[in-house]
Symmetry: C2
Amino acid sequence: MSNVLAKAQDAKNASVKLATLTTEQKNMALNAIADAVWRNRLPIMHANKKDLTETERLLSKGEIKEAVIQRLKLDTAKITDIVEMIRSVAGLDDPIGKTQYAVELDDGLELYRVSSPIGVVGVVFESRPDALPQIASLCLKSGNAVLMKGGSEAKYSNEALFKIIKDASEDADVPEGWIQLLESRDDVARLLELNNHVNLIIPRGSNRFVEYIMSHTKIPVLGHSEGVCHIYIDRDADVDKAVEVCLDSKIQYPSVCNALDAILVHKDIAGVFLPRMVGKYSEAGVEVRGCSRTVALLGDAVKRASKSDWGYEYLDYKVAVKVVDSYDEAINHINGYGSHHTDAIMTEDTETAMTFMKSVDSASVFWNASTRFSDGYRYGLGAEVGISTGKIHARGPTGLEGLTIYKYYLVGSGQIVASYVGENAKKFTHKKLDKGWLEGIKR
Amino acid sequence: MSNVLAKAQDAKNASVKLATLTTEQKNMALNAIADAVWRNRLPIMHANKKDLTETERLLSKGEIKEAVIQRLKLDTAKITDIVEMIRSVAGLDDPIGKTQYAVELDDGLELYRVSSPIGVVGVVFESRPDALPQIASLCLKSGNAVLMKGGSEAKYSNEALFKIIKDASEDADVPEGWIQLLESRDDVARLLELNNHVNLIIPRGSNRFVEYIMSHTKIPVLGHSEGVCHIYIDRDADVDKAVEVCLDSKIQYPSVCNALDAILVHKDIAGVFLPRMVGKYSEAGVEVRGCSRTVALLGDAVKRASKSDWGYEYLDYKVAVKVVDSYDEAINHINGYGSHHTDAIMTEDTETAMTFMKSVDSASVFWNASTRFSDGYRYGLGAEVGISTGKIHARGPTGLEGLTIYKYYLVGSGQIVASYVGENAKKFTHKKLDKGWLEGIKR
């Protein structure tokens, strides 16, 4: 187990040098990794074969689902995708070294706030062999050292990919030790204790798993608990649009966090909207669970919702429906039962939309659009590091920026604080500067 | 104790409406608070008198220090300062509602990332009656509800100020319950458990206190552990500047976190720099604790440092000195023994300065300037919420921005995700937009 401490120490040491790499050095290393993955596609597929053999044994015993095999399998097409993904990360804007704030404190005394790597990141992820190269690429691009633990079904594939990435990057002058692979659940438990070495934990996987991580570490967690998503159909909604959006939000991909779980309908429009909506859901095989007023309106076409239906993430062809008296009731229901992930309003009234969006305390608030748009790729964030349901540091779909923090660079020529206090104190100018930190330093 | 839960629930309810207040509403409320504090200066000083009487009793028993009385005492001048501080917060830029990212996903489907309040903030602070109005003003300006617990020596002053601020703000239409006062240490222990109601804890006070908070809550903490500050005197330093900066960093105000604790000197300049530096320190009454090479150079003028001197925050007229062989050794020493607060280099060589600043993993890295500049006011951040030694969310001196997060507003006209997948899929345009979210919504 102290093996994990040694790995974390190595990663921490490497992180110091990693923070000094230029964009060109990082991109060259990423391209070298892409080349190496492609060059080694046969050994990678060979390792993956070993994982598949073992996993098929479990499948035959009924211990896992067929979908696991599909996710696990690496063929030439998937390796091509991986190689392209790594090259696309090389093509992204460098999130490090950006001047966020530049101010002259006094003549010749200049302050720059500059985006910087966080340091050492621990990532625990699902059994998808493409996850490892994706995480490694994003961490390298953002100058962070990384400790990774992948799903055990992908053990051999991950080992092969890890070794290739490690060797190719270190050959390309990325500091030795920047990438580390953990091997067991015990390793993860140990990782969670290393709050002096690890600056951020990113867990990927089931809600239960993420909550386990969150309650077992002092290290900040960028994690995602669940997505209980609502759509409120306002009195002033366009019914055609509302039906289309609620259908898409539910059935376009029901097993994911941004799928719809509950519809709240204003009482004045329920009589028009609900019969059409429930007809559409019925055609699509969606079970509707309604409140008493919904049942009164639609009778046998819906099941009666129980208390546990409110605030429940179905991940399935099921949806809850509640008739409300006002948008205030809808807002309170969402803030009380929701999970602060993604919630939408359907209305043609700008003021109502505005109040709803300001008042609903969710990472993503939508007006007249499907909840399924809530996703880093669709948001144009380039690459998704994760989805955060926290309200500190990063919220919602999180791109490379979520792997950065900043530091303050103060550039002087011998200034002392005593000159700025007491009688005859010099005054701070606090004049915004129109230049970046590199220009400021290489003056 | 469940009293605290009720207060937190009230604060959470208020936070929803607080997030919808306009800048004008918040500023009007702040000015109303300033007026009310001034109008009630006599009752405030009367309450303060009760605190002083009690505290003087403790002083006479030797249980507290004289400085506590000085910090505690409110007179007309201090109340004038408080009133001016509140008005200055009204004058600050509103940190909420700023568009950080605006992108068209497709024609008529626009995404805006907008700065938003965090929600409910818990602040535990020292016995300074001016702290309460400062924290309340900053939270109101940033649209956050706040649960506050002040030092017990200021109990009556805090109760008086709290009531005045609560009444004046609620009269000015700030949602009832947005501000709450906790009363005991038990209340604080209960607060730390309320991770479903409280989004951020800001502890102010001693290192030990902050560390206690950090290790007793799942709620994210914006806190500040300690400041072990270093200055590295490079081979290419200007000795005059180096002596001045090291003197100021140590003696300008030795009892604070950004005061100097250890000097690292390059061996090639130690023979010139150290005798002059130690002479100056000796005049100023600073005790120097040197490594073996320092002692060899200076003899009886310095004490021999023990192992515990490295990485120690003196908060006193003491400083450790170590001779190093290279700037690499200095960087490693600082990253190993420092507290990632503020560290400086004295050199005339740009490349060395650059490498040092990139490699030292501290919130503030200085080149040729006193460590004492590390402070939100001097940085021009307007008002300091706290100093963070964490690397997530906020780092270093933290202004109002540290009390904000963001949310994503997606504005559509009935778009569904199904249109963007499969055959004939529409493509996302991901075109940067040149407008703010309000303009986008009120189209």
